[in-house]
């Protein structure tokens, strides 16, 4: 059985690294960990949309880096229903937050993020941005 740690990489981690925002060093460390890495298609879409609006020529390049370093995961029925329960329990969550955390939980992965909305969530790992 594979006991390797699993990390689900949220959009802010990718942006910190690629765009060198606060937390870039920690993001690099996270991506360097001996762990399986996952990313949702929704996260990929968000990061690529960010680049589409600012540096459209880089979209394919950025997408290539993410796809090479993580396994992309789509939303299925179990994730949808878990996200609904999360949204009800944590009113501060956006739909994207709920779907992302539900995806990480389905994979038994740590949810690695810079988003303070996840403060207090036991399986969320919020990286330092200072």
């Amino acid at each position: 059985m594979n006991n390797l740690k699993r990390n689900f990489i949220d959009s802010g981690i990718w942006i910190a690294l690629f765009d060198q925002h606060p937390g870039a060093d920690e993001a690099e460390r996270v991506l360097n960990e001996n762990a399986e890495r996952y990313c949702s298609l929704l996260t990929l879409y968000e990061v690529l949309r960010y680049y589409q609006q600012r540096k459209p020529k880089e979209v394919e390049y950025v997408g290539g880096q993410i796809k090479n370093r993580s396994t992309l995961v789509g939303i299925d029925e179990a994730i949808t229903f878990h996200a609904l329960r999360l949204k009800q329990r944590y009113p501060q969550f956006s739909t994207v937050d709920a779907l992302s955390l539900a995806t990480a939980r389905k994979l038994n992965a740590n949810f690695v993020t810079r988003d303070s909305d996840f403060k207090g969530i036991p399986d969320a790992r919020i990286i330092k941005t200072t």
């Binding site: 060198q20 960010y50 290539g64 956006s94």
Partner: protein, 73 residues
């Protein structure tokens, strides 16, 4: 920019100039429109930090992220 030929097994050599320029040892082939492909270098992790700077501030990223989340409400 450069022409490459495939050998009998379908292999080709990426020109040294391109390998050195990108620093990549792995490339992704993307079909960006029907019949047209681009070779996307996969950068080593140590080269990724700041590799795609947009000039946007952290605040601008947060505003984008909030707006993106609102679109799904």
């Amino acid at each position: 920019m450069a022409f490459v030929e495939l050998d009998e097994k379908g292999r080709c050599v990426i020109p040294k100039e391109i390998r050195e320029k990108t620093g990549a040892t792995k490339f992704e082939i993307i079909e960006y429109e029907p019949g047209r492909f681009v070779l996307v270098p996969v950068l080593p992790l140590k080269k990724l930090k700041g590799a795609f700077k947009t000039g946007a501030t952290e605040r601008e990223w947060k505003e984008f992220h909030e707006q993106f989340e609102k679109e799904f409400h």
